[in-house]
């Protein structure tokens, strides 16, 4: 996503310049790595994917803030327990009580977490040049991009791949809709849901299954995967 107005560009630069020098340097490094990222024609088996999930202060993607981030790498068709990321962002004020109940992240923990700038930079570093996959990606993507733009002054970030759109294409003839339904469909062990890392883990497992089946569906590169997902999203909108 590129900045749409000149004003946005200036604002972003102002935000970046206000960051500590050390953070600016880290962002530059992430950006360099991102620009050198492998092409879309890289075979799936060699690509690193990051399954990502956010817990937010509420369901409104334009205003609610990130409470925690969970992410796991998927490489060579395996979910990497040893390549995972989890952080809780320190909040200026804790979210409403009903939301606390959903995510079970208490006000204390919310107020205690990591500095948001630090948390987001670490997250970008963890993602590196990998492709991001999420379930219902639009929501996570919108919130994540907004926070990154507002806090780090970083605009350009690629689209998330939406697993919720891909799965029906790979496993036709089911009426599964939610993450829970898909997890149950594949008989995956129910993990402690509604925590960012747990949902990310469930997402990663589903991604692993999709990647395993991908060659059979003629999907061999990251580009094929993106194309399949886009076609499916387009179909989904028409439906």
């Amino acid at each position: 996503m590129l900045p749409s107005t000149f004003g946005e560009v200036l604002r972003a630069r102002r935000i970046r310049r206000a960051l500590p020098a050390e953070v600016q340097e880290r962002l530059r490094r992430v950006r360099r790595g991102f620009l050198d990222r492998p092409s879309l024609d890289q075979p799936l088996a060699l690509a690193r994917f990051v399954a990502l999930d956010l817990e937010t202060t509420g369901p409104r993607m334009l205003v609610d803030r990130i409470i925690s981030i969970g992410a796991l790498a998927v490489t060579d068709g395996t979910v990497r327990h040893d390549d995972a990321f989890e952080t809780t962002l320190r909040q200026d004020r804790s979210s409403e009580v009903d939301n606390i109940l959903v995510h079970q992240i208490g006000g204390q923990a919310q107020l205690g977490g990591t500095d948001p700038v630090e948390a987001l930079v670490s997250c970008l570093e963890f993602i590196g040049d990998s492709r991001i996959v999420a379930f219902r990606a639009e929501f996570d993507q919108t919130v994540f991009r907004r926070e990154v733009r507002l806090r780090l002054g970083v605009h350009a970030w690629p689209r998330f791949i939406d697993l919720a759109a891909l799965l029906p294409a790979m496993v036709p003839g089911t009426s599964n809709d939610t993450l829970d339904e898909w997890v149950a469909h594949f008989g995956l062990p129910p993990v402690g849901r509604h925590q960012a890392i747990a949902d990310a883990y469930a997402t990663a497992q589903l991604l692993m299954i999709v990647l395993q089946d991908a060659p059979r569906a003629g999907i061999e590169t990251s580009r094929d995967l993106r194309d399949a997902e886009q076609a499916q999203r387009w179909l989904g909108r028409r439906r």
Partner: protein, 611 residues
């Protein structure tokens, strides 16, 4: 397992997904990169050896533990029988886990132990299968062909044909035309019926009295088919062909011979054998019997004992047959000694001759007696060679004047060796100090043994040199789980394996005055006298037997592969050699363990007798 260790695992595993039918671990892919812990689903373990049924592993089980522990590619294939989720622990972490968690290390060892049991089963299975094949009649007829066919041209006279048959010791001869195509057979029965009784002159061409239109069978026909043909045509022999060429003659006797090789039968047939060819057939029976015994699961010790005792009987019978031709030997007081492995009652199939003679007579008559004995001994050596015991390359044979000595001379020789233990002397001691009486006056051998035990045991210098000699050979263990092989990438199982045990056992025996010559007996008796742990004694003996078993297997395999005659030629060179990496993973481990035991025995010798 410790919580710390579980956390160690949890932090390092990955989750993998394998749809049904996926081959998760394939031996062809080399060493597995991961330890797989099944989280969900079932995995089928395919064993290349049909002896073991496939097994199925489920949730919570892991694989391939044995292959990873051995850091080898393993031999089994693991395949998903349904959609399977596994936790994958990278190999380097598997190794670290074994180091840090005693419980896990124990688990791996136990997995291996089960495997040892299974593998011994496999080994036996391999041979019982061979034995079963041998005893059914479904084997290709070519397996029954024991020698090149004896044949004569059609225009050969009956006399020449008979002469030829007598030389070769056969009862049947094939008759061929100018293009070597078989046109008939001629047997001793034909001789009686068509030559002797009708009074046909021996100068008649053999073609006139042979049986025409012999049965020709392709070498790939089964023995059963051959038997049926013989029965329907009323013939007792048939000619085996390979693409139009005669490759052998099989008689009814051959077809049934395989089923009558029991220990008692073989012993009996040795006792009643009337000539060299008769004994020669017994040698073949001994080989067949050895094979059967191995198949039935006989351990190396009873096996080598059996071979030795049959060979003893064979040699004794040979001497009985031979002695009437040497009347001058009959009046002498002498004893035929088995030395070397034969002396230790550890003969394997491919053992060459190691023998000597001790005799007693008045001093003035020594030279004369030796001459007479040598004449006999040379004939005996030659006959034994003909029976398939190759002549000794080192000329350690009774027919050598150096090995045919009076009691005084042997004592003098032994005393020299003990007083001045030069390398040559030790070499001599290694061979001759394991003597055992085989034929003749046993008291002579007993006297010599008594004297030797009393003399050698008290000479410290000699003992020290003997120990040093036994410590010289190093077990061929390489760095970390490898073997030290020679240029041909093989290990000499004798030089670098069994000999270590044999030499150490001899040193023990002479130091402690143990009259026993058999290696495992020596190790047992010495171990008990020195209060060695009974388990350590057992481990040494087992390791020794394992090496012997491998040797036997290599030798029998070689005999089978090349045919008896071909194998005889290369006995010395090839049959003690083994490519360790051709063994399966488990045997490789057992072999390494055997070599480690060799080292342990050497250390024990060094500590208890060496100083």
């Amino acid at each position: 397992m410790d919580r710390k260790d579980l956390e160690f695992v949890a932090a390092r595993v990955r989750l993998g997904y394998f749809p049904v039918g996926t081959v998760i671990v394939d031996p062809a892919g080399g060493i597995s990169d991961f330890l797989y812990i099944i989280q969900r689903g079932h995995v089928r373990v395919r064993n290349p050896n049909a002896a073991l049924d496939d097994e199925v592993r489920g949730t919570g089980e892991c694989f391939p533990v044995i292959a990873l522990s051995a850091a080898s590619a393993g031999s089994r294939t693991f395949e998903a029988t349904e959609d399977v989720f596994c936790l994958l622990l990278p190999r380097e972490h598997f190794d670290e886990l074994r180091r840090r968690s005693p419980e896990f290390a124990q688990f791996c060892t136990e997995a291996l132990a089960t495997m040892v049991q299974l593998s011994l089963g496999q080994l036996l299975h391999h041979f019982s299968q061979r034995a079963a094949e041998q005893q059914t009649l479904l084997e290709p007829i070519s397996a029954l062909v024991r020698r090149d066919p004896i044949y004569a041209r059609a225009d050969t006279s009956v006399r020449d044909a008979l002469e030829h048959m007598r030389r070769e010791g056969v009862r049947t001869i094939a008759v061929v035309d100018d293009a070597r195509r078989p046109v008939g057979v001629f047997t001793l029965v034909d001789l009686v019926e068509r030559v002797v009784l009708p009074g046909v002159p021996l100068s008649t061409p053999v073609a006139d009295v042979m049986t025409r239109d012999p049965i020709l069978v392709d070498e790939l026909s089964t023995a059963q088919e051959a038997l049926a043909l013989m029965a329907s045509r009323g013939f007792h022999q048939l000619l085996v062909m390979r693409s139009g060429e005669l490759t052998g003659i099989v008689t009814e006797r051959d077809l049934f011979s395989l089923q009558r090789v029991t220990m008692r039968n073989v012993t009996q047939s040795i006792r009643v054998a009337r000539d060299l060819p008769g004994l020669r057939r017994c040698v073949e029976d001994i080989e067949a019997l050895t094979h059967n015994l191995l198949a039935q699961g006989a351990a190396a010790e009873p096996l080598t004992h059996t071979i030795t005792s049959l060979n003893d009987t064979l040699t004794q019978r040979l001497f009985e047959l031979l002695l009437p031709e040497f009347p001058s030997v009959g009046q002498l007081q002498w004893c035929w000694l088995a030395v070397g492995s034969e002396g230790r009652r550890e003969q394997t199939v491919a053992t060459d001759q190691d023998n000597a003679i001790v005799f007693r007579c008045a001093r003035a008559e020594v030279a004369d007696a030796r001459e007479r004995l040598l004449e006999f001994a040379r004939a005996a050596n030659a006959a034994l060679a003909e029976l398939g015991f190759p002549l000794c390359v080192g000329n350690i044979m009774a027919g050598n004047p150096e090995c045919c000595l009076s009691l005084e001379e042997w004592r003098g020789r032994f005393a020299d060796w003990i007083r001045e233990p030069t390398p040559t002397a030790l070499l001599g001691a290694n061979i001759f100090f394991d003597f055992r009486p085989l034929f003749g006056d046993q008291l002579l051998a007993g006297e010599l043994r008594e004297w030797l035990d009393a003399t050698a045991g008290v000479n410290k210098l000699f003992l020290r040199m003997l120990v040093a000699n036994a410590l010289q050979a190093e077990p061929p263990l390489g760095w970390i789980r490898t073997f030290r092989t020679d240029a041909g990438e093989t290990i000499d199982l004798k030089t670098h394996g069994t000999r270590i045990f044999v030499d150490a056992a001899r040193a023990f025996a002479l130091a402690l005055g143990i009259t026993e010559t058999n290696t495992s007996q020596r190790i047992r008796v010495a171990g008990r006298r020195l209060n060695r742990d009974e388990r350590d004694i057992g481990a040494s003996v087992d390791a020794y037997h394992f090496l012997q078993l491998l040797r036997l297997r290599a030798q029998l395999g070689g005999l089978e592969a090349g045919g008896v005659e071909a194998a005889r030629d290369k006995l010395h060179r090839a049959l003690n050699r083994l490519d360790p990496y051709a063994l399966n993973e488990l045997e490789q481990r057992m072999l390494r363990e055997a070599f480690r035991q060799a080292r342990a025995l050497q250390m024990h010798l060094d500590q208890s007798v060496g100083h």
